[in-house]
C-alpha cells in the first residue's frame, strides 16, 4: 500500500483546495488600518527644515552628484547634516536624488517600514533635485528610492544588499556612533 504510489497519493491529497477563514481578511485590513501613516518628518516641510541646516557633502556623494547631472538620468548620493533639533545620538541624514522626469519620489527603508507614504521626497524648483532628511540613530539601515510609485532605485554609490523577504536590491547605510 505505502510505496511510491502512496507518495503520489499524498501529493494528490495535499493539492486539494484549502479553505482559510475569510475573517482573516478583516484581521489583515484591521492591522493595516492601524499602521502609522503620514510623513515622518517635522511639520513645516522637509525642505524648509533642511534649508535651515548646515550640510556637508561627502566625496562619494559629490562624485555621484556630478555624474548624475552629466548623464542626466538618475543620480543618487547622500549628504549629511547635523540638525540641532534631534535627540542626542541621532543625526539627520539627507537623501538626494536627481530625477528630472519624476512626478514623485519616496524614500523607503528600514527606518520607515518601507512605507512609501511616510517619507515623500521634495523637489526643488527646476533642477530635478529631490531631497528629504531622516533622523537616524547609530545602526545599519537598508533603503532605496521609489520613483513614481513603481521604479525601484538602489543607491549606486552605496553597498547593496538583497533582502530576504522581498528580493529587490537595496542599499545599505551604516550610521556609526561618531561620524560616518
Amino acid at each position: 500500500m505505502f510505496d511510491e504510489d502512496a507518495v503520489e497519493r499524498v501529493v494528490r491529497y495535499l493539492r486539494r483546495s484549502v479553505r482559510i477563514d475569510p475573517a482573516l481578511d478583516h484581521r489583515v485590513m484591521d492591522e493595516i488600518a492601524a499602521l502609522p501613516a503620514g510623513p515622518a518628518v517635522p511639520a513645516g516641510g522637509v525642505w524648509q527644515w533642511l534649508t535651515g541646516r548646515r550640510l556637508a557633502l561627502t566625496p562619494l556623494g559629490a562624485i555621484g552628484l556630478a555624474a548624475a547631472f552629466v548623464v542626466a538620468v538618475v543620480g543618487v548620493w547622500r549628504v549629511r547634516s547635523t540638525p540641532d533639533s534631534v535627540e542626542p545620538g541621532v543625526r539627520g541624514f539627507q537623501f538626494v536624488l536627481v530625477e528630472p522626469h519624476a512626478a514623485n519620489v519616496s524614500l523607503v527603508g528600514d527606518f520607515n517600514d518601507w512605507d512609501a507614504a511616510r517619507t515623500p521626497m521634495h523637489r526643488t524648483a527646476g533642477d530635478g533635485l529631490w531631497s528629504t532628511v531622516v533622523p537616524l540613530e547609530p545602526g545599519r539601515y537598508r533603503y532605496a528610492f521609489l520613483i513614481d510609485g513603481r521604479l525601484w532605485v538602489a543607491d549606486p554609490t552605496a553597498p547593496t544588499t538583497r533582502d530576504d523577504d522581498f528580493g529587490a536590491p537595496s542599499s545599505v547605510l551604516t550610521v556609526g556612533g561618531e561620524g560616518l
Partner: protein, 197 residues
Amino acid sequence: MPKGRCDAARGREGIGGVGTSDAALVRRVRTGDTAAYADLVARYRDRLGRYALHMLGNREDAEEALQDAFVRAYRSLARCDDPERFGAWLYGILVNRCRTTGARAARRARRFVSDPTALETAPLPGPAEQTEWDDIVRWALARLAPDAREAFLLKHVEELEYEDIAQLTGAGISALKMRVKRAREQLQAILKEAEHV
C-alpha cells in the same frame, strides 16, 4: 511542465479570467486605495493558506504566518517591482514567514523540529492512533525536516519549477532537487512504517 505552474509562478492563477488584474489592484493600492488590497487578500487567501497549512501543520500557525505575510506585503508594496508578478512576490514573503513561524513553533517544543534526535522524541501522535488518511499525511509531513518539507510542498503540491523555488527560498537548484528527493524517500519510509504499525 505541470499545468498551471507558469500561472502560479506569475501570480495569475485563481483569478478566473475575470475581474481586475493583480497589477491594476497593486496600482490602486499604491495610489492610496487601501480597500483594493482587500481584493488581493481575498484572492490569495486560500491559495497561500494551503501552503502555510501544510508547511506549519496547524491552522493557528498557518493563519498567523499568512496574516503576517499579507501585512508585510502591504507595507512593502513599493518594493514589488513587477505588479504582474504580485502573487509570486507574495509567495516569497509567505515562505519566509512560514520559516519564522515554524522556527518559533519548534522553539516552543511543538511538532516541527529539525533536530533528528528531538524529532524522534517529539510528542507526535503515533500511526497506531491515526485512523484517517488526513492524520497519516499530516503525521508524515511533520516528520520531514523543514527544508525538505518546504521543497517538497513547493515542487509537488504548489507545482513550481525549481528555478522559481530557488528564487523564493534562496537555495540552489541542486540542493533543492536533493531535498525533494530526500523528502520523497522519507515519505515512502514513513508511510511504510505506518503500514506496519
